[in-house]
């Protein structure tokens, strides 16, 4: 339990450091949000208007003062308001976050369902036909950049085959079938790379576990192969697979930009990139804070999961 507390404290510190670094960094980046806001559409902004906007947005205060007020507000759960249109950052994030999570979750589900059994199968018949083909497919999947895969998928599935609409979003409650059809392609695109990694990791972990003495022991006990595979091999191979999967999912939290762009899926990453391009400080800070918190929480979850899976860890 002390271990858990220690981890949580470290996590909070980490998040604070990250958020502070981002706070500074985004202000160091050239480009003033007021000027940008008023420069849209290629028209010249009026400097008086720019100054007025800056004052209105609180950007004329010294940096350390801004930092303190942001910190204070954040501790009260208020992440500020977007500089562009005044929408509270919290509500903007809450609107977009579930969509990114949904995308990642769907991709993870596909990856686990497809790649885990495939990795096991490949490991049990190492060097066999299935193993070779699956490994080759995994290698290719890892080599295709995600935006290329996405573009090709739009071309094939939306334009030629007309199986799914060409990108966009409708809420699940509004039109479940269309929602799922729109979810399919971006989730699949992400799942490609994710499956490849999961497949390789499962295969490698299963192969390593298969060499262990307790597998030989299980055979010596006369245990049936399916049980050996699931109860002994998979059970022990899960640990490194879970770790790697957790890392991948964590990095996806902020990294689904390209997929969201190509498929017009209104998720959190897209909001982040737009916010950085518009120098919308509160939004950038808010999103990075949320992503960092989620990432750290995910890591914590992974650690707990690992402890659940591996009783040897619990002693420490």
């Amino acid at each position: 339990m002390a271990w858990l507390l220690h981890r949580v404290v470290v996590a909070i510190l980490l998040v604070w450091v990250v958020a502070s670094i981002v706070f500074l960094a985004i202000r160091l980046v050239p480009g003033d949000p007021a000027t940008l806001l008023l420069s849209q559409g290629g028209m010249a902004p009026d400097p008086g208007a720019v100054a007025a906007l800056r004052a209105q947005l609180g950007l004329d205060q010294p940096v350390w003062l801004q930092y303190l007020s942001v910190l204070k507000a954040a501790l009260h759960g208020n992440l500020g308001a977007s500089l562009e249109d005044g929408t509270p950052v919290v509500s903007a994030i809450l609107q977009r976050l579930p969509r990114t999570l949904e995308l990642i979750g769907a991709a993870a589900l596909i990856a686990i369902l497809a790649a885990l059994p495939a990795g096991l199968a490949a490991a049990t018949r190492r060097g066999g036909g299935f193993d070779r083909i699956a490994s080759l497919l995994a290698a290719i999947a890892l080599a295709i950049p995600v935006f290329v895969a996405g573009t090709l998928m739009v071309l094939v599935f939306a334009q030629w085959l007309r199986w799914v609409p060409a990108g966009g979003y409708v809420p699940l409650a509004q039109d479940p079938l269309r929602h799922l059809r729109l979810l399919a392609m971006p989730a699949l695109t992400i799942a490609l790379g994710l499956s490849a990694v999961t497949f390789r990791m499962t295969r490698a972990a299963a192969l390593e576990v298969a060499q262990k003495d307790y597998i030989r022991m299980a055979r010596a006990k006369g245990v049936a192969p399916p049980r050996i595979l699931l109860h002994h091999v998979l059970r022990n191979a899960l640990m490194p697979v879970v770790t790697v999967l957790g890392l991948q999912l964590g990095s996806l939290l902020g990294g689904t930009v390209l997929v969201e762009y190509v498929f017009n899926w209104p998720g959190l990453s897209g909001l982040l990139v737009d916010a950085v391009n518009a120098r919308d400080y509160p939004e950038v800070e808010g999103i990075v804070l949320v992503i960092s918190v989620l990432f750290v929480a995910l890591n914590l979850l992974m650690d707990i999961l690992y402890a659940v899976l591996d009783p040897r860890v619990r002693q420490r």
Binding site: I26, A143, V288
Partner: protein
């Protein structure tokens, strides 16, 4: 490195060569635009056509690969160098350095990679000079972790402590011990990071955050080709192919390196030899013995190495046979062969194994499974690694029970507890819920025995069951085995290198050396009057009760591929004669139950 690894290594080398040689190749200028001929197709001057500015596609492809590869490799190189440094510093320079290193890497990992790239590029401005630091930063934690883990594992070693005690400077320790240790994983990490960097660079260039046009980069070319996808789809295909192939090659190299530094042995499909041997009958079994091994010869893969040659032994019901030999004698493999549990790579080259008259090595897998753990059971040397660390020991015993008997989970659990009690584990109800790492070595071995006897086998093979235990516990285990033997009439094959241990419990003894049986017979006789110099030497080298110091055997067991032409023991034998070194001596049968392979056995008697 295996043969197959040369293919990816070769392709990567070819790529690198191409990239390096690009400026020297007779290619048209990749940035010279020719708008009049934009999107032109294949022509004599332009083998792959022209892009949307009329630039030559092939030269752009080559240059683009060069740029993308260069960026990826340089960034990875920087990350590697810095990462190794940081990992070493963190591991060796005390708690504060450790904290700073590990935690700062955690901070880097907290950043969404793309945001980091976005921020850095907007701060520094786009272009390769901004891209390389970003990528280096992104891959730094990976290297730090690998090296740090290596340092941690090495730090705990005794010889590092010894070096420190001898006054060696820390830096020296670092370089001499850690670097060779982590060399492999770092190389693997390098190729992994380089491949990933290429993909990331293409994504960043696609977003306009990477290499600055007009210099080509594969990612940039893909991004640009997307807009002309309808008119010239091939323009999208070429850079995709180039990128894909480059990454494939890098990934393949990574895998090959992994295999090279962490070999797992090539597994043979395993089915071939069975079909072959099925054609050769082993003959009829002799009636009576529980286990009969007849002229068993094992072969490693397709090589000419035979770890077990022509080994024969028998075990009568309820009898205890001790198989004695040094490591490398082939005794463990013989035991595994009896269970038909040979590891991958070891094949049977001749002979047969009969368990209660059934020829084990010709049975199919389901039939073998019925026997293993049922009629014949094995106790392995290292109980910690032989028990699954994530399952409770009660469950592991129940598993053995339910593999052969129809029991409900609860019934099996009750039986497991009973078995634990039988093997002398106190408080068995509570202990059954424990995990293997929560028990002591002796208790774990008792658990192994419990598993082995769970289904009342007729034969128990114990491979060095007490070697990992200390003396008092050893005695207890031996006692337990003796009890169980008597109680349940189990035949026991006790494999060991430790003579005194078996002196008490063995009925018969088989001595093996370098894969062959050199002597066998009733225990009392063999101990009292050994008929082979090796046996005699073993007896002499055992610790004695009367305090006289033991006499060691000079020399070493010959390597499998380095066998002397004559008697395997001759080089170390004090009684060798020229005749001993001519040909392998045959096994002399003095009585049906007494054999020796020494030519000069009469002189020993």
């Amino acid at each position: 490195m295996s043969r197959v690894a040369w293919i990816p290594a070769g392709s990567v080398a070819l790529l690198a060569l191409l990239a390096l040689a690009a400026p020297l190749l007779p290619l048209p200028n990749p940035v010279a635009i020719d708008v009049a001929h934009r999107l032109a197709g294949i022509s004599a001057l332009h083998p792959l056509g022209q892009d949307e500015y009329g630039r030559d596609e092939l030269s752009r492809l080559v240059c683009g690969t060069r740029v993308s590869l260069a960026v990826a490799v340089i960034a990875t190189g920087i990350a590697c160098a810095l990462g190794v440094l940081l990992g070493l510093v963190g591991g060796f320079l005390g708690r504060f350095a450790e904290l700073a290193t590990v935690r700062s890497m955690d901070v880097v990992l907290c950043f969404p990679p793309l945001l980091l790239a976005l921020l850095v590029v907007t701060l520094i401005g786009p272009g390769a000079s901004a891209l390389i630091p970003v990528l280096a930063l992104l891959y730094l934690p990976g290297f730090v972790r690998v090296v740090y883990a290596g340092v941690l594992s090495v730090r705990a070693q005794d010889y590092v402590e010894a070096m420190r005690a001898l006054g060696a400077r820390r830096a020296r320790i670092m370089f001499l011990t850690v670097l060779p240790n982590v060399g492999g994983p770092v190389l693997v990490q390098f190729s992994l990071a380089a491949a990933s960097a290429m993909v990331l660079e293409s994504g960043l260039s696609f977003l306009g955050l990477g290499v600055v046009p007009p210099s080509p980069s594969l990612g940039l070319m893909i991004g640009e080709a997307r807009s002309t996808m309808a008119q010239a789809p091939m323009l999208l295909l070429w850079p995709c192919l180039a990128l894909g192939l480059a990454i494939l090659a890098l990934n393949a190299l990574c895998d090959a390196l992994r295999d090279a530094f962490d070999p797992q042995g090539r597994a043979s499909p395993g089915r071939g030899w069975r079909a072959l041997r099925a054609a050769l009958p082993g003959g009829a079994p002799a009636p009576g013995p529980v286990l009969e091994v007849r002229e068993l010869t094992l072969q490693i893969g397709s090589a000419a190495a035979h770890p077990v040659r022509g080994v024969s032994l028998t075990v009568a019901p309820g009898e205890t046979l001790a198989v004695i030999g040094e490591s490398g004698s082939g005794k463990s493999l013989t035991g595994l062969a009896a269970m038909a549990l040979l590891p991958g790579g070891i094949e049977v080259d001749g002979g047969a194994v009969f368990l209660e008259g059934r020829e084990m090595l010709r049975l199919d897998e389901p039939a073998l499974r019925r026997l293993r753990g049922g009629r014949i059971a094995m106790v392995f040397q290292d109980p910690l690694s032989s028990l699954n660390p994530v399952h409770r020991i009660g469950a592991q015993i129940s598993e053995a029970l339910r593999a052969h008997q129809l029991l409900t989970r609860r019934a099996a659990w009750r039986k497991s507890v009973g078995l634990l009690r039988r093997v002398g584990i106190p408080d068995p109800e509570r202990r059954a819920r424990a995990f293997p790492h929560e028990l002591s070595g002796g208790m774990r071995q008792r658990v192994m025995i419990a598993i082995a006897i769970a289904n009342d086998p007729v034969l128990l093979i114990a491979d060095e069951p007490t070697t990992a235990l200390d003396a008092t516990v050893q005695a207890q285990i031996l006692e337990l085995l003796a009890e169980l033997r008597k109680e349940r009439r189990i035949a026991l094959v006790f494999i060991t290198h430790n003579l005194p241990v078996v002196a008490e419990i063995a009925d018969r003894v088989t001595v093996m050396y370098a894969g062959e049986v050199v002597e066998d017979g009733p225990a009392a006789e063999v101990f009292a009057a050994p008929l082979h110099p090796y046996t005699a030497a073993l007896l002499a080298s055992a610790p004695r009760d009367d305090g006289t110091s033991p006499v060691g055997i000079p020399g070493m067991v010959p390597m499998l591929h380095n066998r002397p032409p004559g008697c395997s023991f001759a080089p170390r034998c004090s009684r060798r004669a020229p005749s001993c070194e001519v040909a392998t001596p045959p096994l002399n049968t003095l009585r049906p139950d007494r054999h020796t392979r020494c030519l000069r056995w009469r002189e020993l008697a």
